[in-house]
């Protein structure tokens, strides 16, 4: 009985969610088709859908997607390796943890996007400045999570493993890593999200190619429906990537 009411409640809230999203779509449609909202501000959803299909069919998005994907992969690999390595060594002694942790946390609280003009000055408008900025921004959550993960391992576990004669490698592989992994994965996930966002952001602000750049170009040419199609494309890509990463994170947690 209790289970059944639980299910009906679930159903009711799902209905509200779907109804809300449908209402937004309907309002959008009505506003642009009948109520005379300027097409330059808000294009018709049907047109946007047609444009989206057209973009997907023609494959026009491929060069920009390739640029953005390259930037993102390189930046995230850079920040993951440096972040986990630096975090691991900083967590090896209590002293170095206390030296470095507040330093990284302090820098992390500054909006690093501020330094974008400096990055553009150093690395130019091309891929390099986006990679450098994305790597810098995502380095901090990863290094902080790694430090937190490794320095909060239960001392008894380490003592027990040592007293049973575990070598450094065995201790790392079977005690430290499994204990720290969930925290590190959380950091990697945050790093993943803000790396992607900062790369899209710096493409929007100053770049020569990439998805963010293309959206700006369309906005400047007032091709609104195509711009909305591109925005929808990027949003869906990011949402899919996020879902994949959440899934991987959950699996990593269970295994760890």
């Amino acid at each position: 009985m209790a289970r059944r009411s639980e299910r009906t409640r679930q159903l009711a809230s799902r209905t509200v969610q779907i109804a809300f999203l449908l209402a937004v779509l309907l309002l959008w449609y009505l506003a642009t088709t009948f109520w005379g909202v300027n097409r330059l501000l808000l294009p018709n959803p049907v047109e946007v859908w047609e444009q989206l299909m057209e973009v997907l069919r023609s494959g026009n998005y491929l060069p920009d997607l390739r640029v953005t994907a390259t930037e993102f992969v390189v930046a995230f690999l850079l920040s993951t390796t440096t972040g986990t390595v630096v975090g691991f060594f900083a967590s090896r002694s209590r002293f170095w943890t206390r030296v470095f942790e507040p330093l990284f946390a302090g820098i992390f609280s500054i909006p690093i996007i501020l330094f974008l003009p400096l990055y553009v000055l150093f690395f130019g408008l091309g891929l390099e400045s986006k990679i450098a900025l994305g790597a810098t921004i995502s380095f901090f959550p990863i290094v902080l999570a790694t430090i937190a993960g490794f320095s909060n391992v239960d001392r008894t576990l380490i003592t027990a493993a040592r007293s049973m004669g575990a070598s450094d490698w065995l201790l790392f592989r079977y005690v430290l890593l499994p204990a720290a992994l969930p925290v590190i994965l959380g950091g990697l996930r945050i790093g993943f999200t803000i790396c992607l966002l900062s790369i899209l952001g710096s493409e929007t602000i100053a770049s020569l190619a990439g998805l963010g750049h293309h959206i700006v170009e369309l906005a400047e040419n007032m091709e609104m429906s195509r711009m909305f199609a591109y925005i929808a494309f990027v949003v869906v890509m990011v949402a899919l990537l996020n879902a994949v990463v959440s899934h991987l994170e959950a699996r990593g947690r269970r295994r760890g």
Partner: protein, 282 residues
């Protein structure tokens, strides 16, 4: 610590008289080491100073002065940055945008958070939508904000609000959700009205998470406003960063960015202090 002591005593006892001087040096070294061990902050400061000295040397003698400027020169040029016509006004505009966006984000976030959080059904049905929208890459619709709100302060404020409002909504809802049901039940059984419940039970228990949300909201607002400023600006700091970059004037660029970073740090710190101060009662 005790083992260090005993070894010190041992070495002092076994040291022959002619080696007294070197053992004194050694113990001084040990004292210094212990001092640094107790004060990691000093070591941290040392690392920062070394980085600045390295930067100074690299910028002064090894790198192209068109791209990097030594910190000493940046520091001494702070005054001239402020003298550049328009910069103080730009800083004021940015600060104004941040303040207004933060106030709007907090008000709207609190209202929406209470509206969603106080009603279990609303929470269950609307929270996934809030989280969904929060997870979207808002930066992709920045050009739309400029189209809707123009290139003045309005678009920056709007973009800051949409970045800051979601963390506040989420933490307010979480704060209400974490309220122990027994508190609500006992207050109700003692005949508390809806308003009394809100005023004396829900509000005080929500304050720590509300302030945590304000801290997250502040970093969101900073991000949103600065992104929009850097994207397009006619009088704000975005205009000047672009101008200094295009003129290859790294000294002024570094100076301006340092001032903005200082502004961000101060704002963050105010909100963080407030959080510590107001969640102490628990």
């Amino acid at each position: 610590m005790s083992s260090a002591h005993s070894s010190e005593i041992k070495s002092a006892a076994s040291a022959p008289a002619f080696a007294a001087r070197s053992s004194e040096d050694e113990s001084r070294l040990k004292l210094a080491r212990r001092f640094f061990f107790r004060h990691p902050g000093m070591v941290r400061l040392g690392i920062v100073i070394v980085i600045f000295i390295g930067w100074e040397i690299a910028a002064r003698w090894f790198m192209d002065p068109l791209f990097i400027s030594p910190p000493s020169r940046v520091f001494s040029s702070l005054g001239s940055v402020l003298d550049t016509s328009g910069v103080p006004a730009a800083l004021r505009i940015t600060f104004f945008e941040l303040a207004v966006a933060f106030l709007i984000a907090v008000t709207v976030g609190l209202v929406i958070g209470l509206a969603i959080g106080l009603q279990p059904f609303a929470r269950r049905s609307m929270m996934p939508i809030v989280l969904l929208v929060y997870g979207l890459p808002q930066i992709t619709i920045l050009p739309l904000f400029i189209l809707f709100f123009g290139i003045g302060p309005a678009s920056k404020i709007a973009f800051g609000v949409t970045h800051g409002v979601f963390p506040i909504v989420i933490t307010v809802v979480a704060g209400i959700q974490n309220l122990k049901p027994i508190l609500l039940t006992s207050a109700r059984s003692m005949g508390a009205s809806r308003w009394q419940l809100l005023r004396h039970v829900i509000f005080p228990h929500m304050i720590p998470s509300f302030f945590a949300g304000m801290r997250l909201g502040m970093s969101g607002v900073l991000l949103g406003v600065l992104l929009a400023e850097l994207y397009v600006s006619t009088a704000g700091i975005g205009y000047f960063t672009q101008m200094f970059t295009e003129n290859f004037d790294p000294t002024k660029l570094f100076g301006l960015i340092a001032m903005l970073a200082a502004m961000a740090i101060i704002l963050n710190e105010i909100v963080r202090r407030a959080e510590v101060r107001f969640s102490r009662w628990r």
